[in-house]
């Protein structure tokens, strides 16, 4: 079933075209002002037409500036002012973990983005909860007493967040009673709506959402005494430092990062020290080779493989 929030925000021409498609195979919707509407469907990109999907952009549904603006207004309940800080970061998270990536004209003042106006393109990402997708990885992370810190590495759209969510669910539902803290900066892991996670993140999990990782880690460790912290998309020195501090405090961290492969992690700014200090004991590499969530391998802190990749 299509997330109800999409019914609320999308124009009728898009909705009627989407109804022809299977919602469980729909991952992404790319809406461009004046451009052809595209979808990521069954693992590949196609154009959305009034009758379904096509490889030809000429027959695709085209939206206007006004359509894009209306989608944004509906997405924020006609309260753009209330979500401006998120718009400045380039995204908006809706109920059910649906995330809208935003492109438009940025307004700069004193070296910082003040707002984004004249939205030109929206990338609507639809989360898919795959219960059990982390079952094959989890045994390599749990030593019978504690969880090892793990970094999930993959290019965008390969299922990092889905795997993190499932890992959180498994860890937070174990009989050993692990307290799992989800530092959900972009509200994609637990998709908290009205204070409650709308996706399954296990029994013993607490969610701090919508704030920086630095804040969530610092206050979470002080106030919530977690055994494990789960966080998505490490990016930049501040995130890496927050993770290092948490691991040094004796908390296991499940995190993810955008990268082609584990081998290229050292090229990412801020990650050199993390790798050198062997803060993460396990690395899980995912790809889209056989569709999102394909396991390329699990590696130890020396990047030595401890499992083989999924067969073709």
């Amino acid at each position: 079933m299509m997330p109800y929030v999409l019914e609320k925000i999308l124009p009728s021409c898009i909705l009627s075209a989407l109804r022809v498609l299977r919602s469980d195979k729909l991952c992404e919707l790319r809406l461009r002002s004046g451009g052809a509407t595209a979808v990521s469907y069954c693992g590949k990109y196609s154009y959305l037409t009034s009758g379904g999907i096509s490889d030809k952009p000429e027959s695709a549904i085209k939206l206007t500036d006004e359509d894009i603006k209306q989608i944004m207004l509906r997405a924020c309940d006609k309260s753009l002012y209330a979500v401006n800080d998120r718009i400045c970061k380039g995204y908006l998270t809706l109920d059910g973990g649906v995330r809208i990536g935003i492109a438009g004209e940025t307004v700069f003042e004193n070296g910082a983005i003040k707002t984004v106006k004249n939205f030109t393109a929206l990338n609507v990402r639809i989360p898919h909860e795959v219960i059990g997708c982390a079952s094959k990885v989890e045994p390599y992370l749990f030593d019978g007493l504690h969880y090892k810190s793990v970094l999930i590495v993959s290019p965008p759209g390969a299922g990092k967040t889905t795997m993190l969510r499932d890992l959180a669910r498994i860890a937070a539902s174990r009989a050993e009673h692990n307290n799992v803290l989800i530092a959900d900066e972009r509200e994609e892991i637990a998709a908290v709506s009205n204070g409650k996670p709308s996706l399954n993140v296990g029994t013993n999990s607490d969610v701090i959402s919508g704030c920086t990782k630095e804040y969530a880690f610092m206050h979470g460790i002080r106030a919530l005494r977690p055994d494990i912290i789960v966080t998505d998309e490490l990016c930049g020195r501040e995130d890496v430092e927050a993770v290092e501090n948490a691991i040094a405090s004796g908390v296991s961290v499940f995190a993810s990062v955008h990268s082609d492969s584990c081998a290229r992690l050292t090229e990412k700014r801020g990650f050199e020290r993390l790798i050198k200090n062997k803060s993460f004991e396990r690395f899980v590499e995912l790809s889209e080779r056989n569709g999102a969530g394909t396991l390329e391998g699990i590696f130890n802190q020396n990047f030595e493989p401890i499992t083989r990749r999924d067969p073709l």
Partner: protein
Amino acid sequence: MITKLTIVCLCMTASAMVGLWNTKRKKSKVLYFDSCVKLTEKLIADISFRHENLFAILSEYSGSAQSELSKQIAKFCAAPYEKFEPEGKFLKAEEKRLVSDFFTSLGSSDAETQLYELENYNKRFYELYSDENEKFKRTGNVGLKLSVLLGLAIGILIL
């Protein structure tokens, strides 16, 4: 004699009713713009400090104040993404346009721009409120008295 007195009374009552209706109409306009000023003040406060959702602010306001504006807020909330057309029969065309622009502008920009717009609307609504209130003070009660007198005069003329 009784018939004559009844006719005069009837004329006076009818005329007073007309006068009362006119006074009420003028008073409604004063109260309407007063509500608009209060609403913009609430919006400014709630957007500045709480960054509260627009519909939450509007429903909170409607719940606390039963006025013509509350009906318009309900109408706006029923179709917030369409152009708003206020109904108020007592509003002039330019006043309707101002109210329509005000509702249409709500929630369509970042906080700083929204607050700037709201400050401007607040000033405009306050000016309208002051003008209407002044007019009401000047002509409201006089109009009622004059209509009663007019009724009396008509009654006498009929006799």
